[in-house]
Symmetry: C2
Amino acid sequence: MQGTETPTSPAAVYTPTDRTVPTRSPNRASYDKELVHAILDEAYVCHLGFVRDGAPVVLPTLYGRVGETLYVHGSTGSRPLRMTGQADPGLAVCLTVTHVDALILARSAFHHSINYRSVVVHGTAYDVTDPEEKRVALDALVDHVVAGRSRDSRPANKKELAATAVIRLDLNEVSAKLRTGGVNDEPEDLALPHWAGVVPLRKGYGTPVGDPGLAPGTELPGYLGAL
Amino acid sequence: MQGTETPTSPAAVYTPTDRTVPTRSPNRASYDKELVHAILDEAYVCHLGFVRDGAPVVLPTLYGRVGETLYVHGSTGSRPLRMTGQADPGLAVCLTVTHVDALILARSAFHHSINYRSVVVHGTAYDVTDPEEKRVALDALVDHVVAGRSRDSRPANKKELAATAVIRLDLNEVSAKLRTGGVNDEPEDLALPHWAGVVPLRKGYGTPVGDPGLAPGTELPGYLGAL
């Protein structure tokens, strides 16, 4: 759930580019690094887009963050990871993370919406070949699922490391986009008899279910009780 | 949350293609139409991928389903919607929807995972120009947020219809992918002292908050009380 925090000044922002300034609702865009990190750290999967045979492909995948770098891993046989390895110049990707926070029901069909927080990262993904960086990245991927978990599991062995490809994507061309607040109906619609308002969406955790074969005396770790 | 149901026989499936047979874990793939519909109908946003200037773009967006067709809408000024309008042959897209159902904590870092259900749709998106299809699509988009809602809101007027672009994507080249179940640790790791198991993720609704300016006597509709 938590990326490794790097010290960023409160005003640290990504520099907007043609690709990260939205054509619509630019007032909903943000380049604030802390906000971007928070959105990235809260989600479990990203949607990774790349181009194959001229057509777009969008796949959900786990990821981890170490400062200003995102890591995605997968089998060395999986498509995007094979593609980065083959191409020296890297693979052009777009990595997107979205939270849906509330449903917005307006009196008019037109103004129905959702409150959301999203991050879109444009860039080039590169194969991680340095063994130390690969270990750091894999720890970040496990710690992204549950903070601190990499220290409470068996690290990858040589065979597993060899079977796992990791790609890195630096956070340079990045934007967040958010909708918050309530209903934006037209003034002439306010007297209509339709209910309008905000329906919040909630996320939470169920009770952890231990694997049947746990070693005797293995207790539920504190970092899970806190979820 | 509900798309318009079309009668499909229990065995109705999408025909697998090169793009919809995964290179990894093909046993997790499904082409069952009912399963695909259920995954699509449960989510609020999809991630829509397209190619712009040779690079992938992945944007979160609302969608609706009518039988075997998905509809995405947006301002006529937004990028993917402008692109379909400009190109007669349509726009190559990949539309992906993902639910994260549980965290899988294994004794080994390598076997950490999540339980998920995803749908990936490959195809060509076309501008919807027929006014009647556009109205049906916009109703489906509103009803996707809350079933039945389109009948309890003011329909789009001419100005709003003109400002809204709708694209259609037929469900032909489609696959679902799922991970379910528990931990898959290596036999030699079972005695390790690390807790392993499944942490379910829960989704739910908070209390609806009415817009401050509701017309007098406007009650919370029954379809929201049932959420």
